[in-house]
């Protein structure tokens, strides 16, 4: 059962980019380790740790961050179920970020040296790897725009809408309403805002009926409304070109 192709985190993820033939699926499957539980707030790795594998997040949420000397923190990315964590650090011997669980989560490890098998035996998988990192970069670029040129209201709205789009990709059941396990300080640290100001801004959003706030947890009530606040354009999340080069 556990060896079933349909249960594999990484096979599922790769399939969302292009169709895989049986051989590729088996190859991926054989190289991935089974899922393991990681409770909320545990550190998956620290900056400077040896970097020898990446993970697929089969359940739960996580985020990567960097701590500065002055004690502040910059959250670099948020990972939702189905995401690949750590591909970024691929060619560094040591991790260049830290990753923490936002949630009770479950991860499947994928030893990095197994990538050799992939590169040498499947052009398709190799291409998909590039698609994944490419989409990843596109998200980072948009985050730069967000941090550099938008107001607090826009930053928050944009970030939340982006996450809702990313959730839709692998977790089908999202319409116009969904809830995220994100505290206000995580959001502040992701967007270069203070937690206090996130709270202030959420008060406005609440009054406008855009969302509800809970405890380390918030509920988006009106995603279209948030898109309007952010001036959101999803072009940068568009599914990358698929098998045109296969």
């Amino acid at each position: 059962m556990d060896n079933d192709v349909d249960n594999s985190c990484i096979v599922k993820h790769f399939k969302s980019y292009a169709t895989l033939d049986e051989k590729d699926q088996q190859l991926l499957l054989s190289l991935e380790e089974g899922p393991r539980a990681w409770p909320k707030n545990t550190i998956l790795w620290h900056q400077n740790d040896q970097s020898d594998c990446f993970y697929t997040l089969s359940k739960g949420w996580a985020c990567s961050f960097r701590e500065l000397k002055d004690g502040t923190r910059q959250v670099l990315d948020i990972y939702v179920p189905g995401d690949i964590v750590g591909l970024r650090e691929f060619s560094f011997q040591k991790r260049i970020t830290s990753v923490i669980m936002l949630n009770d989560a479950e991860l499947c490890a994928f030893p990095r040296h197994h990538l050799d098998h992939i590169f040498s035996s499947s052009l398709m998988l190799c291409n998909i790897m590039f698609m994944i990192t490419s989409r990843d970069q596109a998200i980072l670029l948009e985050r730069l725009v967000n941090l550099g040129r938008r107001s607090a209201r826009e930053k928050l709205a944009h970030f939340l809408v982006e996450i809702s789009y990313r959730l839709q990709r692998t977790n089908a059941r999202v319409e116009d309403h969904l809830s995220l396990p994100l505290s206000q300080s995580v959001l502040g640290d992701a967007l270069g805002l203070s937690a206090v100001h996130v709270s202030r801004t959420f008060q406005e959003f609440r009054r406008e009926g855009l969302l509800k706030t809970g405890n380390s947890h918030l509920e988006l009530l009106d995603i279209r409304g948030l898109e309007a606040v952010a001036g959101f354009d999803a072009f940068y999340l568009e599914p990358p070109i698929s098998d045109s080069r296969s």
Copy 2:
């Protein structure tokens, strides 16, 4: 002469990551087009253009940016001689950024579909491709930290020091003093600052003997001093692991 491996932009770039055997060098060489001149301020491509190749910047400087509806601009990256431009957009059919020349420049095109040859015939080249995108991502991550959590002084100092490191990589002759073709408004747009505030901050830096300002052009006089202002740590530029997996 033009077909000489030692003159090829892309061969030079790839060699800075790992040693290439003769076959790999010839392969790269055969797939790259000769250099072509691009005068200052010309647009290499616009957002939404068809994306069918990337380039190596053999001479001159360029930057990628995105324009927002409100007329502001976010500069996403600055390219120095030797850099690869456009690898980011690899798996998007349309460009997701625009690129403009900061300088009279010279570029070699590399048609994207040629990557198939590379992936299928050389494990080494495939690995180097990943190293390049990986380092690229590391730079973006650090830029996020810069935009999210640092003061204007720190942002500017950090950015300038980073560029001086990147210059050293492919352009050997940089000691403690070098000059960059960057206007204050480009810097502002890259760092989420107003051009006015860049000017104010440069006035301080000038008084402190850190740099000299010119016309669309500035000269770093004391790189160590700037590193101190920024609290700079070059770990994220460290040469990625090389042929450990070859």
